[in-house]
Symmetry: C2
Subunit: 309 residues, 2 copies
């Protein structure tokens, strides 16, 4: 899967992943109204609106991007009907041959991490059958509980050639509260970065990068320089571009000299593009076209920053 | 909810919570076979087996215990049908007036934590309606991303008088990898404990304890002594008793002088009791009665340790 991801990034010249994080506030009224007429103002209605919104956006942008990153919280908020929409979205993205990064940030004691890994990377055994449940290609993980919370994901991922991105330095304002605290002269996130490198060094694709990557927020470019050096084999998933405030220049420390090694996420900057002044002329009716225009602009912005460094 | 929890603990003299973590290996063959005959060896079949297993156990023990803690990973591994079983389990426990601690260990950037909080504590707004999705009473949270990943849960919990337990020192073997690393002379988990105390100090129930509690593994009693002092208002959820190796004596540092302040979890020690030599005479047919006997033994073990300290 890391080879498929890197292959698609090279072919499209687009180290970008679109975050499918459909808060109801992002969804145009006409989509919501149609869903509510059919299902009422219910969790089912919300799930239907989410799915129709996602489908239109995927149809408009799938040929431009290597990967999507659905944030499961945005679906989980609507309970079971929300997770039905998550499942439909994952399956539809697979039909479109997109690499799917499930943004689940799980992590627990060993036997529990095993269960999460089976559910999201698969397979899970039921009687004599081996079945795939949510079936993403990569997942994001939280490392606070240490190696035995992460290894079950790696062990489950290997036979199905899937992978994970592990939180190292997150993009949010308070990420430094614990991640930047100094341990033996170096911040916690550096110790996590070294572990990520160790966890992934025996599981490397033909592209030279590991199936085990890291999350490093674009909002902290100085920390990214250090993290990049500590994890030479880790692909870096970079959130924080656009709506969270980071610019294309902030992204550069995450990339290698060939413009690989990192994939940049944008969520509401793409899926709610029609709400930005820049794309307002599309109108809510043509929200998916606005998303396509925003993907093209993001691709150019990053390609240009990489070319001019 | 913290008052309801503490009230039930006092009334039943049972500071215990049963972890409803139904791996298929724990479920007796006759339950699985019945479900597979009806639904096949499918995710639906697994979900049905999980639900029937849980229901029988809840029926057998609900009058003895204040609370249950379903581990969502064990349901998520079976995808949507697994989460249907989770939802049924939560609703059934509510009918039985049990306090429900959703063991979800979530935590993400602010807007994403808000979505998880809406989905698990509620309500979530859909059009003009406010709806409850998974609707647990408490959730467990991972603090690695800092305050702005935790505060949305607290802000969502307050209006509905619900709460959270935040990971401080976890019970797993590798928990020390990051949690015990020394920062300014003290391990990371102590800094997290201080934050937990600060996050919860303005949100205290009539019982004197905060709605914001902590998770401290029974497998680390020395660390528990320190954590207890740093978080005088935090109720402590204690995993690790029984199957993970901790004894009743290991639990004592988590309790206050009145035998309150902590609630001890046992999962497979209760739900898979019929597989232990001690309860083997019940047989797989009477697995729920074995669970009842195990709850009674656990209650006595802890009450006796508290009385004799």
């Amino acid at each position: 899967m890391i080879d498929k991801l890197v292959g698609k990034i090279r072919k499209l010249n687009a180290p970008i992943v679109v975050g499918l994080d459909p808060n109801l506030a992002f969804i145009p009224e006409h989509i919501k109204q149609k869903a509510f007429v059919e299902y009422g103002e219910t969790l089912e209605g919300a799930g239907e609106a989410v799915w129709q919104f996602n489908k239109a956006i995927i149809d408009a942008i799938y040929d431009l991007i290597p990967a999507v990153k659905p944030q499961i919280a945005m679906y989980e908020q609507f309970g079971l009907p929300g997770l039905v929409a998550f499942d439909k979205t994952v399956n539809y993205c697979r039909e479109k041959d997109l690499v799917i990064i499930g943004d689940i940030k799980r992590g627990d004691i060993g036997s529990t991490s095993e269960a999460y890994a089976r559910g999201h990377l698969g397979p899970v055994k039921v009687g004599s059958k081996e079945l795939f449940a949510f079936n993403e290609d990569f997942v994001t993980l939280n490392p606070y509980m240490g190696s035995d919370s992460v290894m079950p994901f790696i062990n489950t991922a290997k036979p199905v050639k899937k992978g994970a991105f592990i939180l190292v330095k997150t993009s949010n304002p308070s990420s430094g509260e614990f991640q930047d605290r100094i341990i033996d002269g170096r911040p916690l996130f550096e110790w996590v970065a070294e572990k990520v490198n160790a966890w992934g060094e025996d599981y490397v694709g033909e592209c030279g990068y590991s199936f085990i990557g890291a999350v490093v927020g674009a909002t902290y470019p100085e920390q990214a320089k250090v993290a990049r050096k500590l994890m030479p084999k880790a692909y870096i998933l970079v959130p924080g571009y656009g709506a969270q405030g980071a610019t294309a220049a902030d992204l550069l420390p995450n990339f290698d000299e060939n413009g690989l090694g990192a994939i940049v996420n944008s969520s509401r900057g793409i899926i709610a593009a029609y709400k930005q002044e820049q794309y307002a002329s599309y109108g809510a009716e043509h929200f998916a076209d606005a998303s396509r225009a925003a993907v093209i602009a993001m691709q150019k912005d990053i390609a240009s920053a990489l070319a001019n460094r």
